[in-house]
């Protein structure tokens, strides 16, 4: 079992730009039709968008129309795929060789993994990379794998503490909590004074990361090739999350509907604080609690004993290697991600652009919610640049749920997670 993925993953280089001689893919060459004569390109581009279907997706429609107007020979087939299903759905389609989209909006964590499996088309020397120097280096790094570039960053994000200002004021709290200890006492105070729950913690393991980073740990140590998910630091971090729930300061939901229940509770003013990212704010603002948008507070996630840290997330636009319409796909990626369209989407959906120049666009600069994320983004922690890293969350979810649900002790749960991690990253040592 341990030799399963040996050959593939042993070859993983860190995101450094070390050029590799044994790359399995051939470049399609720089002189593509799209670069020479964009107007002559024909075809249909199927785009799997993973943004929220009701709150975010409508903002893309005018941009797609504008693209089709500019390139009358290209048709865009817009498909909204729920984020939670997109990874498995894309893998199934890509592996079977039919049904995969031409362009996919892929999580930053998936990009190197898909590239390693050969599913993605390198974008070097294609129109898709126009103005690449304008991309923020952090998000852009997630597109590099084995010396090639496999995508462009579309949005970036990090987790923050979102809070209901009215509820905090009612409970007599003037500033949002800065540490998990403060979050605990504030939550209990809110519950006592207003009757609503203080904090709703998502039970997915991605939301555990701020606790782990807060203690100065991580789930793996990529440079030392060590699995650290079950070491003392992580154990302490999980203990903090456990204690929040046991003490009644925070509620959680380990069912399939956990995320939407968290959103509903926060939107309706039934819970005062959540840890969530900028993507959720356009949904929050539709709720009764935030009919006055100023009521939504945004702060850096609370700190643990070492620091305050949340993961850098976001999405890339990637092109499927089996696409029949590569040239059209490059043009679509370039158009969708030019600075102006990025700024428009960012302002409408309250998501953070990845182009430096987009931030000087007045739509972005004047958006209060977006500027509130600047601080939290500065203290955000990059995720380990290992292709298997995004696969680690699935087993960790199961064990984190079992820990929060009281079915396993924290140590047992984390040890089980470490065993699973070792299968995904066979060249990593267990601590």
């Amino acid at each position: 079992m341990s030799a399963r993925r040996g050959a593939g993953i042993a070859a993983i280089a860190v995101l450094a730009l070390a050029a590799s001689a044994c790359s399995s893919s051939k470049s399609s060459g720089g002189a593509s039709a799209a670069a020479k004569d964009p107007a002559s390109v024909k075809g249909t581009v199927t785009w799997w968008d993973t943004s929220d279907a009701t709150n975010e997706a409508p903002s893309y429609q005018p941009i797609i129309k504008a693209f089709e107007a500019k390139y009358p020979n290209i048709k865009v087939n817009y498909v909204n795929v729920p984020f939670a299903d997109a990874k498995d759905k894309f893998k199934t389609a890509a592996q079977s060789g039919s049904g995969a989209p031409d362009v996919l909006r892929a999580d930053v964590g998936w990009t190197p993994a898909f590239a390693q499996l050969g599913y993605l088309q390198p974008l070097d020397n294609t129109p898709a990379l126009q103005d690449a120097s304008d991309y923020m280096p952090g998000p852009y790094a997630s597109d590099h794998y084995n010396g090639k570039i496999y995508g462009v960053p579309q949005v970036t994000d990090t987790l923050t503490l979102l809070y209901n200002k009215d509820l905090l004021t009612k409970a007599g709290i003037t500033t949002p909590p800065k540490t998990w200890d403060e979050l605990k006492s504030d939550s209990l105070q809110i519950k006592a004074k207003t009757g609503v729950d203080g904090t709703f913690l998502d039970a997915a393991s991605y939301y555990l990361l701020p606790f782990i980073y807060g203690e100065g740990g991580d789930i793996i140590d990529a440079s030392a090739k060590k699995i650290t998910v079950n070491n003392a630091t992580t154990l302490k971090a999980v203990g903090i999350a456990q204690d929040l729930i046991k003490s009644g300061a925070a509620v959680t939901d380990v069912t399939k509907d956990g995320y939407s229940n968290m959103q509903t509770a926060f939107k309706d003013g039934k819970v005062a604080m959540v840890v969530n990212g900028p993507w959720s704010t356009s949904d929050d603002l539709k709720g009764s609690a935030f009919s006055n948008a100023d009521n939504l507070g945004i702060a850096t996630v609370p700190a643990g004993s070492v620091k305050a840290g949340a993961p850098v997330g976001g999405h890339n636009l990637v092109v499927y290697a089996g696409s029949k319409n590569l040239d059209a796909s490059y043009l679509f990626v370039a158009f969708l991600n030019d600075a102006q369209n990025q700024a428009t989407i960012a302002a409408k959906n309250n998501v953070l652009p990845t182009r430096t120049s987009a931030y000087s666009d007045p739509q972005v600069a004047n958006n209060k919610i977006l500027s509130a994320f600047e601080g939290p983004l500065k203290s955000a922690v990059g995720r380990p640049p290992v292709p298997g890293a995004s696969d680690l969350f699935t087993p960790l979810d199961t064990d984190y749920q079992a820990i929060l649900g009281g079915q396993k002790s924290a140590q047992d749960g984390l040890n089980d997670a470490a065993t699973q991690f070792a299968q995904i990253l066979p060249d990593f040592s267990k601590s």
Binding site: S27, V254, T255
Partner: protein
Amino acid sequence: MRPLKSLGRSFDKYWYGWAMAAPVVIVMLVLVGYPFVWGLYLSTTNADESNIGHDIGVNHIPPSYKSVGLHNYWDILSGNDGHFYSTLTWTLIWTFVNVFFHITIGLGLAVLLNRKIRFRGGYRLMLILPWAVPGFVAAFAWRLLYNDNGVFNSVLKYFGMHGVQWLAQPTSAKIAVIAVNVWLGVPFMMVSFLGGLQTIPKELYEAAEMDGASAWQRFRMVTLPGLRPVMMTVTLLGVIWTFNKFDVIFLLTGGGPAGSTDILVTHAYQIAFANIRQYAEAASYGVVILSMLLVFATVYRRSQAKLEVQA
């Protein structure tokens, strides 16, 4: 040579029969035979998504998986994979409890509805409804009922009790998935038994009544034996279906919380299609599941045949 010759003669004589059957045989071979053999082969390798090999656009990735013999089976049956025996236990409980309730409730309702009562057509229609609802629609509807803010909790809260996170605790989640599957499966059993009841000659009941048999005795001595053929078939079908009942569990809890409601097929699905795709291991699970059902079906049919001889 003999059989070949007789085969040839039979072909000469009944060539049209062979020709008629050929398309079906070919389709079955392609749709069932090929995947089955391929699955058997995969289960003896270490194939996963990274080494299975594929051609995508300009990328050609050659297959690099290799034979590992029976290692996958050893991994599963020795309990090394850490999931098999706990999942199997729950799968057996799940199957037994479901089939038990399907049959008892289905039989009870069938007997009730077989009598002349007012609005019989209406009752039959209402009881058959769950069957008309596609499984996934039912699962999503029930998920809403079980939700924190769902109907069940609203009722509890109305009476001043605390809401329960139905799908968040292993025990309540297990009860919840069984309840949904019982609700879904009873109509089929009811209709089957209704059909069976109507084949029992009225004269038998009349004769029994003449002999002074009580209602319970008539049920035990006339109805149950009369239903045996139906009972045998639906039990066998019910066990196989329920053992492999994927949609209810997958859509209601996704196997959660923390894998506690995973039955063997949903677990195998997760190995094959969630996260890292371990095709070889999932294929081995498939073979193990198939073998268990084959053994069960054989033993069950034998024992029933014996009963029939005795009766």
